[in-house]
Point group: C2
Chain length 367, copies 2
């Protein structure tokens, strides 16, 4: 018998948002009738020019990617005003989060996360055999982080802002003050997967990657093409840090970890920012409709700086799981936050006509 690492025993798999294929398989619903608002994807898709670039390049899928990913890194370098040696691409920002964990975590080391946060921080940490500590509140509480950090001395600390899965965001000044007070030996991951949405809603909540990593060499800043750029299926994200930090994180990177079509799509997406601007405009308007609805219906929600909103189920009504299941049978995929120990639903803001249908349905379900 092969002996596996004992750390495997404590691992549970990530519970992913449900795919359209599942609703088709389980309920026999026509794929084109499914409204998928469970995974915070761009409901308008990626820019048409990105689709075209991928189609044009498709006959070259047999070639391994250019492992330097120079075109993509140059494009990201321009976006963030940093040199390319301060960027590491990954198979989703997920992968660069994994690299960061493996760079610093040994068995028994401490990690500090928010109580409600992206589930993979815990999983990657546990895979390294680390011990995961968390704060107690639903939105981030930086004072609580500082107090706990003094006790558990984390090797890594994760801030997710705007935060997945609840949508709160930290202000730049609060984060800088926090970083000044924290030990510089702690690697601080700022997962900014939703930064473009936060920036649009409130400039004070935007943390510039260059500035924060210049000021604090212990910060690893991560972003993704899965959200605002509409490339969730292509698995492409990146990390930004000091050149020294990136050099170390690169050591955990396997070659060719991003497909050639993904690198191409991401590079092309950065040339089509007007598509993103239009989406951001629609998202903010439509988010407003969800907020208005929640207030009218007296549904508790969290002020969101992202492309989703979290509605808490009523205390004495249907549970979030019951609502999510009922909607699923109607072909509407939302995200039940039960796996995050919240009696709440996370709803991706869709296209106007999708939101019409979701809001209409929620009215009868949220009881």
């Amino acid at each position: 018998m092969v002996q596996f690492q004992t750390t495997l025993n404590s691992l549970k798999s990530y519970e992913a948002g449900k795919p359209i294929e599942l609703v088709v398989r389980e309920f026999g619903i026509d794929p084109k009738d499914v409204i998928k608002l469970g995974s915070n994807e761009n409901p308008f898709g990626c820019a048409p020019a990105v689709v075209k670039a991928v189609q044009d390049f498709a006959s070259k899928m047999s070639y391994y990617p250019d492992d330097s990913y120079l075109d993509l890194k140059n494009a990201l370098a321009r976006k963030f005003d940093v040199t390319p040696d301060r960027i590491i691409p990954g198979n989703g920002s997920d992968q660069v989060l994994d690299f960061a964990c493996r760079c610093v975590l040994g068995v028994g080391d401490s990690v500090l996360i928010n109580r409600i946060t992206f589930a993979m921080y815990r999983i990657y940490s546990l895979q390294c055999g680390a011990k995961v500590h968390s704060t107690e509140t639903v939105p981030h509480d930086l004072d609580a982080f500082l107090d706990l950090a003094k006790i558990v001395k984390p090797k890594i600390l994760f801030l997710c802002t705007p935060s997945n899965p609840v949508g709160d965001a930290l202000s730049k000044s609060d984060v800088y003050e926090f970083l000044r007070r924290l030990s510089p030996e702690t690697l601080v991951v700022i997962d900014a997967a939703y930064m473009e949405f936060g920036k649009q809603k409130d400039q004070n909540k935007f943390i510039p990657a260059k500035e924060v990593t210049d000021l604090f060499p212990n910060v690893f800043f991560t972003g993704t093409f899965s959200k605002v750029y509409g490339l969730g299926g292509m698995r492409i994200g990146y990390g930004i840090g000091s050149s020294e930090l990136i050099k170390n994180i690169y050591k955990m990177r396997p070659p060719f970890s991003v497909t050639n079509l993904s690198a191409l799509a991401a590079t092309e997406a950065l040339n089509n920012e007007s598509h993103v601007e239009n989406y951001l405009k629609s998202n903010l308007e439509e988010l407003g409709r969800y907020e208005k609805f929640a207030k009218e219906e007296s549904i508790e929600f969290i002020d969101s700086y992202a492309n989703f909103i979290t509605f808490f189920a009523r205390k004495h009504g249907k549970s979030s799981t019951e609502i999510a299941q009922s909607l699923l049978r109607k072909g509407i995929i939302l995200r039940d936050l039960k796996s995050y120990e919240l009696n709440a639903l996370r709803i991706t803001i869709g296209r106007p006509e999708q939101n019409d249908k979701v809001l209409e349905t929620l009215k009868t379900e949220f009881i």
Copy 2:
């Protein structure tokens, strides 16, 4: 200052085959004039139906993949006559190799590899803090493996057959005899990235995934779509084992690790085996031309069961590095095996007209 794992100090990055982009950048050669035979890609590309499927699906890149990868797993299950729960997909077979290492390796554990073998086995093992031992011969020597295994008691042992980067292959009967004599506590990875080529050349060198993993539950068998299927750029591979083994290896897998276009392309590739058959036929014929050339020119080579052949540079002539550099300036990319400590070149078997040019050029370079 952030403290990194001490294991990082011993890590060197993988030296990847050179991309076309590099030759274009460095020597100003037109991309369409570059002959890329350095990375064992399918020189005919993937099947046209695969290209079409990807083009048709490209507008759906915004959707996260179906994380069950059920369509792909079902197609692979049919190919290998196993149940889908015995399959794990990965971002290249590279990624499932990484999962396997992380499942069993702790700091200080032993790993056993062949002296000349795929470089990533060592890198993944070192990333886990393991100690890597290796045999002394260029082709695999199973007796030497057994002798060393008794001493170092490896947690993982890697067999690469047909072997990258030199092309030798083990016979099924020898591998089974070896597995019978080895401790069942050692996880044996059989990396069969080139299995389709070996099977075609000599059926006795083919190891059926179902049979070997049925007989030996400590075997993890891996394959890829990067070689014969012509999808190197799409990063898709898989592992096969007992359902118990796969369940454990799954625990190290992050969600969505394969892009939706990659999973689609691989599934479609399995529906277009005639494209593969045509390529295999051409490869074997053209491989024969390289063998004939080597004999005529008295170039030392290794009998190959893959889509490449290894030519040793002459003892008193140009070194492999000099030849590779000279060819590069002419727009021909081969793989210098210096990083494997061999004074040799690995040449991917190309299309007939590419091989014409390479053989003609080699005649004047191999002095």
